[in-house]
Symmetry: D2
Subunit: 329 residues, 4 copies
């Protein structure tokens, strides 16, 4: 790193929080300091940028946070930042502090704002994919997904205990408004008989037929894992149909909800957050701008923010779906 | 144990399952075998008794189950057992196998059935309090409570992470239809600002005033823990009122639900289940009948099933409620 | 609390750290503030008192710590404090700040120092039993024990998995230099065939005979839980004897060690720490001095520090030992 | 799967057990049944093959095991199988049952035996990499690694709590006789200042210099993570050197040991085990023989068993090591 391209950078977290965001902040801060780059933390995302809630960070600011859920920089929505006036106000606060590079940890909504800021005011921006849904183009991994899916699995295991004790059907809803990765992985890992995803059209008729067959075979324990964004409308809607059609089956609904966002990050999430945070600073320092740091086949890649925002992930692995059916017989 | 009063006993689990039931079954089976008493397992509670779903157990039947949630004997509701005819049919199955003593692990509904069976057919019955709600007269501890409350605490900790990241108000519903023990203990242990219980009248007005005050002080992270049986009607109802009165606060609801029933039992639940299971067999062997094994001040007590069914627990510890208010300032 | 007996107090943690110490600090600080008493934190126990490493705490100082292991006030050993000169120096630092009451969270070594400080310099002292070993006279519960024993149980469960897969004998050492509570409770909760405690003389001959019998019966999975303070000298010493006498058995040693001190405190530990911390301030405020806050049969008691230091706990519950033998057949 | 190449297969686990082996067994069994192939379980690996401890499995044999640590088929070492006579005896037992395909879940030692069996007796063999060390050529993932490294991380987090409370140096030994993957990943994820691996020559002098520098800076909390196979000889040896050279530092050793082998498998391990188990049967059914199922860049690959045994993994990621140094400043 012969000549530095940045000398003072800022980092923020934005959008829904995800376990591992703190590990990413730590990596950004310490890699910057190692490279003699000053580093600032922006509190509550773009809101804090507009309100000048920005403070200088040092190595100790990020001590003892790698294992913590949430984000020490907090996150918030900002409608004002969606306007050119809001972004101008925000940029002026960065300019005042002579900040010449920005790292944004969040999802595609956060990247959209970052890209506009850069286009309008010239500041280079690096995005890190921080989202439990793994709904992000250009990267195999996102910060938070592995923890979220393990939280889902641990809790569905508990529900299995009670489902098994009572020969009940449980319909468990996991997070995922547009993406079924949590549902698919958690469903296979807990041996769910049925997995309902936003990416595939739910054939409720065949679900009902499957349940009827199991009812006859007296295999009464059943588990349906459904992503919140399934086009049928989540666990409660599925339960309504099942209860109407199969009133004799003892059916219960559990919505895992926000517990999937919190908790100490898994080893995997800490590692990718550390790697991505390191490479965000390296990229800024090498003059890269407006890219997202992604991981593809284990390697770091630089994905143009434009692509990360506009392109679609390749979708659900059909083979995994097939395996899930075969293994839950 | 000079002269045995029983020579062949049966054990069943009934009602909502609770972590530690398997540890209790193990203790009943092995203590019986140690005392040269034959022991049978009845599957799916009173339903299995009626349907003669009863099998002989040995030491290996209960190997490697002390750490498992759920109940290997399964549980079920039985409307037929609520009739004298049903109980007669059930008793005949016990009689056929020359079973002369019964251990019932469950809540007060289960004890009611056991007591009627004993009164009508003379078989001595011992009850073990297995219920996560701790809603049981005559005992300081019930099998499953400690695990359930720790599961609630671990998950509310996770919700805290995300609440803190977003300065949100979370309203978390825990189990407890008639009893607020889970809500009270989990609420204090997670630093909840407000705890709503069935045992105390909820003054929603003062909750709103407290939230307003915190809104002004910009202490925006807030946690309300509410028992499902609160007279206001659970987390969703509370949220409705809060959203009407304080629309600016970002309010979310999480219902922990059935995850509180499952999971590997805590050390405490395994211990009390082991002690109670042991003492159930000792009691039968000493000729005791129709009592529940309880623990009071650390000591084993024998509570008449009649009392366990009809009497009320002393209720919520007012001092704990007071401490919870002071510590969440 | 009409007239206050103290107006400015300090709190410290001392000795081995225990999960729940942070919950106790939080309770002391917030109860003090609620009662309009100023409160100071002393860093690194008596060392920090001597070096004047003392800072004013407010409600925010203890935000978001109830769920954390370790102690934000840190702990340390101090040889200097064992001398009258050291204690004088320490007291002068308290005097300078007009501190008129002290809460000490730790074990009996810490209480000895506190009592001497009080006797020599007149400052009233309240002790809170914070020790994972539960080796403390006058209280049924100590802060940290429940978490430590659950950590032991969770990890021994994991060892069971691999012991079972290989038909191996595992000898697991848990903490407890003078007290076998962790070993006894964790041993019963994990179904250990043998439990070795400092309080009972280990009859190694009968352990060997038991293993031989099981070797013949081909019940090859075996688990011995041994407290580090067993008079045989810990797991490695026991393994040496077993390997000499029964060379054909595949024997492995695991020493759980310091993992038992850390981790997020259990619900139980957070609750007793909160209650005890609250009552420490109440006691100071009512003019009590030189007592330990204990819990007996669920009720708060005030045990003279002299007794807490010099008297012995009643020892191991013989019935539990008997139950452990019967249940591991 | 038009024409089946096998009609009756067997599955075994061998070598050190790893979390996820049960998920792999389940996948083999159910995929076989789905394809109308009969499937047998061999108990205790090659020992059981020699002793004819083999039983027919059905879909229910593997119900409710996906979440369990250990292996329901048990594992064992067999010296007899290392001889041609032993393998002949073993093969005869397979032949007797008309078993025409074999799935071996284990490490390279297990694959060596499998390959010899196939070469000598013609039975096609498929290997699945089941080892927590990830020390396996031809695959990015092995069954058990992700769980083991998360267990290490969770426990080192606990040690951090107590290290931090006492400003101590902890030297923690993790598994890995020939490979440092657990040490490297767990070390980065817990923010270890120093990570010692078998793959890199340990410059103990620079470790001592680093500790001295930190001693001067009063950054006293320190964590060294060392793989058991480091050429210095594990945590106890490292501690010996540190204590000699830096006697003032309060240094403690923890050896995590066998807890890293057990426990409920992570979502990741359940998934790769399920995929690999599925593909093992598909491969046999398509006529493939003597290959290991691996995962490279997310895709299933078939690695000749010969390569899996004789070739070396590409070794430690140097960039990760560099990141670990920068992030622990």
């Amino acid at each position: 790193m012969a000549t530095k391209k940045v000398s003072r950078i800022a980092v923020l977290t934005s959008g829904g929080d995800a376990p591992g965001m703190n590990a990413a902040i730590r990596a950004v801060v310490r890699t910057a300091i190692f490279n003699k780059i000053e580093v600032y933390g922006i509190v509550r995302g773009y809101s804090g940028m507009i309100e000048d809630d920005i403070y200088k960070m040092d190595s100790k600011s990020v001590a003892n946070i790698i294992q913590r859920g949430g984000t020490i920089l907090k996150s918030a929505r900002s409608d004002e930042f969606k306007t050119p006036a809001g972004r101008k106000k925000a940029f002026n606060n960065l300019k005042k502090k002579e900040i010449d590079g920005l790292v944004v940890i969040g999802g595609d909504g956060s990247f959209t704002g970052a890209l506009k800021l850069s286009e309008e005011h010239g500041i280079p921006v690096i995005g890190l994919p921080g989202t439990i849904d793994k709904d992000c183009y250009g990267t195999d991994s996102t910060i938070g997904f592995d923890t979220a899916v393990n939280t889902a699995v641990e809790n569905i295991d508990k529900i299995r205990d009670t489902a098994d004790a009572h020969d009940r059907l449980f319909i468990v809803e996991v997070m995922g408004r547009d993406a079924g990765y949590i549902a698919l992985n958690a469903g296979i890992a807990t041996g769910a008989e049925t997995i309902l995803l936003p990416e595939t059209k739910t054939d409720i008729e065949s679900v009902i037929i499957g349940l009827k067959r199991k009812e006859r075979r007296k295999k009464l324990v059943n588990l349906i894992v459904v992503a919140e964004g399934d086009e049928l409308g989540g666990a409660s809607e599925v339960a309504k149909v099942v209860k109407e059609r199969l009133p004799k089956i003892d059916t219960r609904v559990t919505i895992l909800g926000h517990i999937q966002r919190g908790g100490s990050p898994s080893c995997c999430d800490r590692l990718i957050a550390s790697r991505m945070g390191y490479h965000a600073v390296v990229a800024l320092n090498e003059g890269k701008r407006n890219v997202m740091i992604g991981i593809q086949n284990g390697n770091i890649v630089h994905v143009p923010l434009e692509d990360a925002i506009s392109k679609k992930n390749q979708g659900i692995d059909q083979e995994l779906l097939k395996i899930s059916h075969i293994l839950s017989i």
